[in-house]
Amino acid sequence: MFDEMIDPDSDGARQPYASMFEWLNEQNFSKLCNQSKQAEELFRRIGITFNVYGQKDEQERLIPFDIIPRILSAQEWRVMEAGIVQRVAAINAFLDDVYNAQEIIKAGIIPSDLINRNKAFLPQMCGFKPPGGIYTHVVGVDIVRTDVNEFFVLEDNARVPSGVSYMIENRATMLQMFPELFTSNHIKQVSNYPKQLFRSLAAGARDIADNPNIAVLTPGIFNSAYYEHSFLADEMGVDLLQGSDLEVRDGKVMIRTTAGIEPVDVIYRRIDDEFIDPLSFDPQSVLGTPGLFDAYRSGNVMLANAPGSGIADDKAIYSYMPAIIEFYMGAKPLLNNIPTWRCGNPDDLGYVLDNLAELVVKEVHGSGGYGMLVGPASSQRELARFRQKLIANPDNYVAQPTLSLSTVPILTKAGLAPRHVDLRPFVLVSPNEISVTPGGLTRVALKKGSLVVNSSQGGGTKDTWVLEY
């Protein structure tokens, strides 16, 4: 098992942690514990909370925040960043292709059914070029690490990735609580992300307006990521809309304001495709705006991300990512993909059933860590029950080997202890460039030995440092 701080040969710290390790040794343990409580108090006062679906008693909860930062060297980051940029460029090329020429199907690389009969594929998008040619303005790429130079992409989030506000607030909290750490370490900053997001969205919409009116669209206050929606709107200085604030007049999308109606050019929408427009998608949806999708297809408004982007982060497509990258980029992928068995394929299903106890099995359309099986951590009964589900509906599942995720130290009541982590860097795509904010959101499984880092499943977060040199 690879620990990112401790060098097993010397029992001292690996190079990126050298200064942190020294600092940790100088700290008074109970004082650190106190500061950890203070950090939590800070989060509660600012109201950085999330809602858990299906939990009634306490509507708003805090995501546990661990005060020991995770540290990546400049060199480690360069490797990851290049791989992420390559991957996200490929994702956009892929989306452009599947909604237009479908060359990748014609080339026999991906079976037609996997695209055209996929729930995440939106036929309404076919033959349409989104403004600026961009499909995924914001992407989150989940990366895990198994060794010094072994990085794997766990999944891509090309629809409405969340968590970026935690990346920024975690840093702000650390700056407030441990300013001295930022004088002794040289850390790349993350706080200008909202401004970059604004510029990136504006650049994408330059065919619509020189100085576009940008807004964030939220499902509302009960959504689990509502804090983030309001945070981003606030930091960008734009309106935070709900569907009911919008109406479509003569093909233009208008906002109802106190002084009448005014047009909006860019909607950074944090609602899923099927809720955008009841006329084009789910007629039951009360979240959306009738006619919005037609206005979009007429080129009068930019939606970020483009509807239908989900076909690129579908878990069944995931296993084809190395081939997708090679097809569009003409080069080998820089980041590893995790070997993936598609249970819809009988040979793969046989292997998965024979080795269930060693594998991680996920629903193709699942997210948030719900409905997945971690074989090595499951009881015989859980395995048996999951086996039934697999046999009943094999198309719905993919399986992967259980990786030995890297660990980093967290603060526990008994002192520092290693816990498994992943990393979600955030990527902005504009016609000019693909940029990755240095670091990202580190999610940490707080339970000893656990590999599930999702906040809905008891995971926490950490500040993530990328060193300048």
Partner: protein
């Protein structure tokens, strides 16, 4: 700004103002109950009646004991106008429009809510009551200070202020209405002498006990109290003061949006009615009609604002 935002800002301010008024009313009544020889049940009952909550209260409690009323008005979840419900709604509204508020304004509300949620979780011990009431009023003051000192004085600010003063005018008018019969000259005869403690409750409920005494050198007469609460432009909770503020905030909006609104006309007309009443030396026997018509026009204005500015 978004119409929905204006709506949430307006109601956030109304709920917050209402919670502060509740706390002041309880505080005044508590003071009365602790200093009078009777059991004060009538006074506690009038708190419930003037809030229009009698039906729900009677369903849950038998008898207007201090403990019943206090728990109902401060912390009952079923009572949509309990301080706890109001603060929850004010915070919910603020959370929806966070992007329109400064950090300081939002945090003042959020922190108040967190502390009351704790303080009001269990039935209230009378020993803790003064401190709880004081902190509710303080929370409101903190919010007001942060609002004044850190927000742009633009349309966002105007809608918050409109909410505050329409609610406040309604509250002051309702207190006068609930007790107007005590202000009639004949009432003194009925109860065998002027019931000063009643006027004291009234003045304390609108934070005006000391300022009234200061202006009148300790002379307490019913007509004087009525005139003070209705007409005195210097008193921040008088009807006159509220309408000066309402008119001025609507005027700002008309300037900002470059047109005149029905709401502005309604407010100006009501401000004029108040002025006329003062000049014509309104007779106490007309007081009830005056107040009833005021409350109804004030409510009407709230609806007109919603319509004029797309608040929905």
């Amino acid at each position: 700004m978004l119409g929905r935002y204006a709506d949430n800002l307006y109601w956030m301010a109304r709920y917050l103002e209402r919670s502060e008024n509740m706390a002041r009313r309880i505080d005044a009544t508590l003071h009365h109950a602790l200093t009078q020889t009777n059991d004060g049940a009538a006074e506690w009952s009038s708190v419930i009646v003037s809030n229009g909550n009698a039906a729900l209260f009677n369903e849950k409690f038998s008898g207007h004991s201090m403990a019943n009323v206090i728990n109902f008005v401060l912390r009952d979840q079923a009572n949509t106008n309990s301080v706890m419900s109001l603060l929850g709604k004010a915070r919910q509204n603020a959370r929806i429009v966070r992007t329109a508020l400064t950090q300081e304004v939002w945090q003042s509300l959020n922190e108040s809510w967190i502390s009351y949620e704790n303080a009001l979780k269990r039935p209230i011990n009378i020993r803790d009551l003064p401190a709880i009431l004081e902190s509710i009023v303080k929370g409101s003051s903190l919010f007001r200070g942060a609002l004044y000192g850190t927000m742009l004085h633009n349309d966002i600010f105007n809608f918050v202020r409109l909410g505050t003063f329409i609610e406040r005018a309604d509250n002051t008018a309702r207190i006068i209405d609930a007790k107007y019969h005590r202000l009639l000259p004949t009432a003194s005869a009925l109860v065998g002498g002027p019931d000063q403690s009643q006027w004291e409750v009234m003045l304390r409920s609108v934070a005006a006990w000391r300022s009234f005494n200061w202006l009148n050198k300790g002379r307490l007469d019913p007509v004087g109290v009525a005139i003070f609460l209705i007409f005195d432009k210097r008193m921040p909770r008088s009807l006159s003061f509220c309408y000066k503020e309402i008119s001025s905030n609507l005027h700002d909006l008309e300037m900002a949006y470059g047109r005149q609104y029905d709401a502005g006309d309604t407010a100006r007309a009501l401000a004029q009615t108040i002025k006329d009443g003062e000049q014509n030396n309104i007779h106490m026997s007309n007081l009830h009609d005056f107040i009833t018509s005021f409350i109804s026009t004030n409510n009407q204005l709230s609806l007109t604002i919603a319509k004029d500015f797309n608040l929905n």
